[in-house]
Symmetry: C2
Subunit: 211 residues, 2 copies
DNA sequence: TAGATTGTTAATCGATTAACAATC
DNA sequence: TAGATTGTTAATCGATTAACAATC
């Protein structure tokens, strides 16, 4: 519940939407036309009441006695998540992680387009990965003035993260997807998602020793 | 709250521990000897009561009137998470994601050792990334018999995920870190962490449009 | 001792689940 | 109409926060 959040929807609900979306995409691909909350509950290991309640946060997508229309529900969730349009992305930091994200295939088909990556390492500048060039970080300001960049992915060493986040904010980017192992907190009008892969790995270690 | 979980600690608490650990590691590096829950609260944007309560789930690490000893608390959390020992890791699927995970630098210094990767693509088999060989998937059974493998990372296309998870379970691996966009559910004595990068990206899209 | 800060109980808040009336 | 399944309210459960006594 960020300070600026204007919707009354809890983050827990929002974080389940992509899972519904993934599931409905699969169902659609398998040719299924309808689905009930009971079936979703079974397949997704979630309580059926919770699913109906989640969906009803955004309106009545179902039909009593029938269930939900797979395609319509999927499209509705796409709209709620705002993944029904294209986003322009840049990547800051073109080390292992940054270059992996340049190649990341899950963007494909969805509306995420990596325009360029930026780094300060002369050995990387000018090279191309997955058809996308690595530019000198000093060019970022001009680049952002000339392109409508929506999302900045941070994949720098952690020492640089705060400066990069400030820079992206200044350049008017709307969202930060941060892969460095430091938390970036929400600022001004910039949305932030922190991905801490190591944290998940540590939780896995805990789990495997506490089954 | 998995069925088999024998500790009474909630998952919400466990998921905050890596954050504490990261923070304490930084403090230690900066030469700080002690820290109070009030300072942690400010730096981590968490409620101080919550922090004290979290830590007290595992014993009294603090001292009234003083606070917490940084190094001792960090070591205690390492023990709780069981990240105070080495884990042997294999990666199944050596595509973009798999190879990126072979190079992933955050293992370094921590006790995670990638022994090998496995794939079925002849073009990849026999090649080496970051000093680690990509082997034919048919060799995995023999490999696991000869090595004590703790963690299996799944980075295959989603069609293969269920079979791979079953295989890893059969081979006696203790934990699965799944990067494919399908959920693997906890099974037998195998701990599972699903990483769905795209889900986070979708949530980011939601957030940036609902600030 | 006085001040600081933990450990822990009690109060609050929010999220999940159950139940059922509405309705297709 | 009867059966099915949603939408929604009420009940439960768990997590967070506040408060303060314990104690270093």
């Amino acid at each position: 519940m960020s300070v600026e959040s204007n919707s009354g929807i809890s983050e827990a609900v929002i974080r389940r939407l992509p899972k519904y979306h993934r599931y409905l995409t699969d169902l659609e691909l398998m040719g299924e036309k309808k689905v009930s909350s009971a079936k979703m509950s079974e397949d997704l290991c979630l309580n059926a009441s919770q699913i109906r309640r989640d969906l009803n946060c955004f309106g009545g997508f179902g039909q009593q006695g029938y269930g939900y229309n797979v395609s319509k529900l999927k499209d509705a969730i796409s709209k709620i998540l705002h993944i029904d349009r294209q986003y322009n992305v840049i990547i800051i930091g073109a080390g292992n992680m940054g270059r992996a994200l340049m190649r990341y295939p899950y963007y494909k088909g969805m509306g995420f387009k990596v325009l360029a990556a930026f780094d300060s390492n002369p050995a990387l500048i000018g090279t191309t990965t997955s058809g996308c060039e690595i530019l000198d970080i000093s060019k970022i300001e001009k680049f952002c003035a000339e392109h409508e960049v929506d999302i900045g992915i941070i994949a720098t060493p952690k020492e640089a993260v705060l400066d990069v986040a400030d820079l992206l904010t200044k350049l008017g980017i709307h969202a930060i997807w941060n892969f460095a192992p430091v938390d970036v907190y929400e600022r001004d009008g910039v949305a932030v998602e922190n991905v801490h892969l190591n944290d998940g790995l540590y939780v896995l270690c805990y789990k495997m020793n506490n089954l």
